[in-house]
Symmetry: D2
Subunit: 489 residues, 4 copies
């Protein structure tokens, strides 16, 4: 990768994908980040957790989220550029994810509001009744910077993996209206104008089957606050997105889709954000490489820039290759999602293939992001641990990536499940066959089959190494496939 | 490892080493940490960078370092327990490193003041002239909590790897007294009563040969400040040790040893702290495992504590095994250091063996500490990224471990050098032979030889994988060796 | 005042009052502050608002208030010394207020927990039924540092002056038990084990007549949290007391006294804390003088310490004189309170005299505290606005004193009311007659009578100047009276 | 004052002064503050002390001052509007002070950079040699937002009153160039492109006669840093101006004016900033009234807004009257300064009249600003001490006003001196005679004469009351004079 490309997210997209469908938009957005956004982003990170103005000076509850004054400008910029509206208007999700890549290169946390807004707009457009859609969807797709923001609030205090057991929010049908009561413990983009929310129907079974998905506006029809923000959480990174605890007290909500199929809708929402997590992870990986590169070109030791020392030069080459593989894997997940996101249960084989690729990509890219951020700190030597120079920020930002949208543990077990139940590994191997090294494919397939043949407990216990192997193989194969495409460089 | 041992650093030491020579002191020290120290340490971490009181209200320069009021109690506790004085009084360094392990389990950063104090007392005792020793050494070994603190200030703004080029501090002999002028950019334990300082003799060559080692007191003979602290650095972790920028302006100093051999003395100082870095890394690894363990025992998902889920159970077992290996590798470095620290140049083969083991251990244990801290955050899921719950602290603390005392890059290249020049790998293989798997030893040796046969640039470029392999092999073999000892459990 | 006395709160008490009944306790307490407490207090102030740990890492609500680790030691010290138990055990409130003076000299905010604890224990002892007293009172009077803390929560978001209109918390009798629902917006000492709380009886009139006073424990009988802390408030000063917003949700409570007379009980509670506010204000005044004095003795300009410049010397003398007058006024309020606190409605003339003296003292002393803190900053010149040197703290601390327990506006109007309705000014003039300058008394009385003769709106509009005059006259007269007592100096 | 005027600084200027010469510029500037500046200013205040980036990541000294990203936009706005260039281009200082009033209403601290820039440009234009002027002055008067900033650094660690004794910075003539060495302890607008600096000529007497005034650029002719910023100070307010400690080490400087007359030049510089301090104080007074007014209009107690309660209504009326008097006094100082600033020693009677008016105005307006900010907090009740609502900010900002540019103590003694030596009181009484109440004038004159007849020490000791009286009388008289002018309302 040439020196210029390493520092430019759009340059890298172009190197990997060739002509971009929205190249001007992407370039303009990147130019804004370089000119203004970078400084704003640094200020937001350094200022720490945003501040919740819970009451006005008269004692009225207002729940305003206060950021440094220029935060809102930065936030609006992405909505205007099309991080959300391009996902629903052009017939393809790809442009939205491209803009997400640019965003995350400059501010990983800021990509979250756009992602959860897209993850709100999509189920609304797919499962909302006509009246609900007519009322809310156009506001989410405004292009003037005033687009309503979305949010996806599933998790409660008991944890996020076992939703069937831990969702205690109750939805009650009162006349024609659903009313929700409960608390959401990890509410990303708290303050959103609209949220999709998992809740248990009153009287429904205490398992995943009792869950339904609802649309929850920030304000009631009478204009009053429809949910309250108890507090914002002090996170080590991603300070550009306010994460709060949200209290639902007699909150008005709109049912989305079939109430019995809530868990499927919830998982569909997660598909969108899981893929975004991959995009964000790859972007952060590039950013960390870019920071390390800039330092290593200037820092001199033993008579030459450290970038020219053989060991460091090799580390750079390896990091770049891993970056390219991770991007290829991620972009495959994006394209598959773009194919299958309109499906409703029961799903096609293509959907199950997507699921496996997405679990592999989430696992692989988040890990790469963390390791590359750590390595960038090491390249900086002692400068790396100083808050002053900002390189430590990327590790703080990265650490949320393996955790959000399911920990590695979760990706592995869910990946295992889709292999067991849907034979998704077979779909994957067929999918990769034309570009894979045949021997490597055979070896990997053998490992997977051997794993699946083990008894349940043993299978889970041993799954990690095989899953990692499968992810590496898939990334490497897709890297070859992408490189083989005719690309205009 | 049983549930109790995982939470007790002294329990782990006993499991690994059997009877401890200073068991009562170790247990008492640990008990104090549990009763009082833990809370103090948390406060210090959360309060952030200590504050430098540069002037008193009358405008007089004072350079006092201000911590939360209870910090000093915590700091004195370790000096009293013997983190320094036991290193010089009992004829063995081992007790001091044992106490260091306890310290670092509770507060990684706090282990630094003790380490640099030991790293000051040792060269003073070894190379100071009688008058200098008589004047300063007894104050460093006080057992009542009023021991003078030491510090080791080598690095300047140009970076720490290439001291020959980057040390610009000049030492001038004025009459019988040395006077230093310059700036130390990463001065750990700024505010120390005594420091050992690298400086270039006025007129000496601009390479490592021009460097000598000096002892620098905080106050001049007339009581005035002998160095000034320009500012304290805002680090992401290790806030229990004040790291500052120090200005030397006509500062009084005492030459240590032969002025022509300064670089050897500097490297001897680094030996002590590099080994301490290993001890601290292993202790932090145990701490992170302990935190993850406590969480996983209580957090329930899918009907049982997540600790009982097969994949997580296996991850725990692997982490514990890695911990034990890392400890065995580290303790070998401690014991070798205890054998060779009194040597002066030219050094014995044993010294060169130590050097290789120390480089391997530094590389291996720091990496393990970071990875385990990261993993502990993942085990905590979303709770892991919240400042509120403290598990993120261990990653912040860990990130300095691969950087201090030489980055991984540096360990690899220095390890390579001692293999090339002193054939230290051959010494190592002989050292391990009686406990190693013969085939594994042969394979590893073959890899090392192949590496060393490559041309210089290629050798450096490819060194990392072999070095990692060698570290893993050495750790594993020493783990077996330690386990084969008769141990009272 | 001699140089030593200016720096010693117990020295000043002794100068003003002669032999102290609990001199040893007072001296020991002061000695602890000098040796340890001062540093702790500085740390607490600089660390800012304490942190609310709302949930444990498992997601269980805990509402723990986190301070720097040594805060609790400081807090316990005052409970042990007798800031509360001495108020109820020795038959006199004076020792408790003396210890309060020492506390407030060192940490104005910390005096609040003791004050509200005393203000809880007293109505409990006076109005609690036997079972309630037996259950709770002994725990508040423990002398071992484990005394339960109290709190007095009246104010809600609508403001504190017009309780009849702004208290929206509702008390419902369910069977034999009262249950409260509502929110307290300014809950000092949030986290207290017991609180006295103003609430409106369900169905009662929406005026002060509908209010009753209740005792509210932190935990329900079943051990669960009986109230929740929504958040702690970020105040500019008094950080040693956690001020929070408290949510009462089906909270168990115990009625105190006659439910129809709640407003009287509320005002009785305020009597205790209003007097404490005076004591705290005078102590802070002394502290500010002491800080200014220390600076002015050392800072040299135009060849001599600035303390010796005629204008500054005169300012000091005036400040000391004002301090002595304010103390005399305050101590009169303390002694009157000690006489009348056991009264129940209808009250004696002595009670009404107390009320007027207390309003005058609150108004006068809080103003003096602020002005003296401001002046101490000016004496420090440029050093005065630097956070580094701490003198600015006293202004931040002082600014709550005119606001807590009723603003100046409130004191004036309430003072006016007790003069109009109860002719308290006549009681006051008789009370002062034997020590007052007859002419000054006649003049002041004339002004008051003229004011009271005005129409209502005009009377209120013009009240301030007369009230200030009356306060100055009363303070000056009582200063003479106190000075005329035989005092052992 | 009507409700609209109280909230608008330009509205108030117009009410007091009638047609404004630069009304459009003033209105546009105010409109920008309302639309954008207010939020930026709040962020800067809450973010606290700006951050000094002392070194870049390569270890090169850079001394960049980092503010929230939008600070620079706010700062440039004032330079563009003409806070500096209008002072030198239009033949009158008045427009610059009018824009200063607008600035200080919104952000008191931000007025400082403009003031010290004007205080740099004026002596440069008046005393610089042609080459120096040609080189630097045009850059200070750029209208595009890139104007160079100035600064006025006199004070050192020993204090600011007695410059003759405390200035230890030494100026040495090396060839044709002056070189300065020393430290400036309170360097407002640290980071300025140009500063005027007081220094003692090498070998000159150690009194004020040894002082000269120099112009010091930020960068040497060779582009390197000409001074270093040791650190920024953590102030309780005025965070919009970076105040630092500056180290001069072989710093290049340009002599201004006659070296023997340095002390006169220093005092001339102070004239400009002292008057600005008055303007800023009045603006802050208006701001505090405006904040209190907004609250009191909305907060309801006892059935009506508290603004309509008679006592508070009267307090408002009194505050507004004091505001108008303070403005009248300040504007007289502005106009007199505009007449005399081009004078060089020996000065005219008009100059001495100005000096007395400026001392009175500084004393009177700073005190009013503090007291009004305090009162605004009290009007807010409990809300007043919460950082959340911002009213406490105005007290923090105000507290610097009595201290900067000389404490009250200093104003009184300097005012006394100009009355003793130059009979400035007689000039003043003649100046006021045509608008003053004859009896009041006679009484006041009598008091002043009596004071001046006292022996020196007694005179100083008793000066404060007379000085306060004289200030009140002067303000009141000028208020009448201003009100008597034909004004277009």
């Amino acid at each position: 990768m040439d020196d210029e490309t390493v520092n430019s997210p759009s340059g890298f997209l172009k190197q990997m994908l060739g002509e971009l469908p929205i190249e001007t938009a992407v370039r303009d957005y990147e130019a804004w980040w370089e000119a203004e956004g970078k400084d704003i982003s640094t200020t937001v990170d350094q200022k720490g957790t945003p501040w919740l103005k819970m009451f006005d000076v008269m004692g009225n509850r207002v729940d305003e989220i206060l950021f440094p004054d220029s935060y809102w400008k930065m936030l609006k910029k992405g909505y205007q550029a099309g991080t959300v509206w391009r996902g629903l208007e052009g017939g393809s999700l790809l442009p939205a994810y491209m803009l997400g890549y640019i965003t995350a290169f400059y501010d990983t946390g800021l990509y979250c509001p756009y992602t959860v807004s897209l993850s709100t707009a999509i189920p609304l457009s797919k499962y909302g009744d006509e009246e609900t859609k007519a009322r809310f969807l156009p506001r989410m797709l405004l292009k003037d910077g005033n687009a309503w923001q979305g949010a996806t609030w599933m998790t409660e205090a008991g944890g996020g993996s076992d939703l069937g057991a831990t969702v205690e929010t109750v939805a009650q049908l009162e006349g024609e209206r659903w009313v929700l009561n409960g608390e959401k413990y990890f509410a990303s983009n708290a303050g959103a104008d609209l949220a999709v929310v998992a809740a248990r129907r009153s009287g429904a079974p205490s398992s995943v089957r009792g869950l339904s998905l609802f649309l929850l506006p920030r304000r009631r029809e009478d204009g009053s606050l429809n949910y309250q923000i108890r507090r914002l959480k002090n996170k080590i990174g991603t300070r550009s997105v306010p994460t709060g605890e949200v209290e639902l007290r007699e909150s008005e909500a709109y049912l989305l889709g079939n109430p019995e199929q809530g868990i499927y809708l919830i998982l569909e929402v997660l598909n969108i954000s899981r893929v975004a997590n991959c995009v964000g992870s790859v972007a952060l990986t590039q950013r960390a490489i870019s920071e390390a590169h800039a330092f290593a070109r200037s820092r001199v030791a033993f008579g030459k820039p450290i970038l020219e020392h053989p060991l460091l030069r090799r580390q750079f080459a390896e990091r770049v290759s891993l970056l390219e593989g991770a991007f290829a894997l991620t972009w495959e997940a994006v394209k598959l999602l773009d194919e299958i996101w309109r499906e409703i249960p029961p799903y096609s084989e293509r959907y199950h293939l997507f699921r496996l690729v997405a679990h592999l990509a989430k696992y692989w890219t988040a890990e790469l992001a963390v390791q590359t951020a750590k390595w960038a700190m090491e390249v900086h030597g002692g400068m790396g641990v100083l808050a002053e120079y900002g390189v430590e920020r990327w590790l703080r930002e990265a650490m949320i990536l393996p955790i959000w949208e399911g920990t590695p543990h979760r990706q592995i077990l869910d990946g295992l499940e889709v292999m067991e139940r849907k034979h998704a590994h077979e779909l994957l191997f067929r999918h990769l066959a034309s570009h894979a090294n045949p021997q490597a494919l055979e070896d990997t397939a053998g490992q997977v089959e051997a794993l699946l043949a083990l008894p349940q407990d043993e299978r889970e216990a041993q799954a990690e190494a095989v899953f990692r192997e499968l992810a590496a193989f898939t990334a490497g194969t897709l890297q070859l496939k992408l490189a083989s495409l005719p690309v205009s460089k």
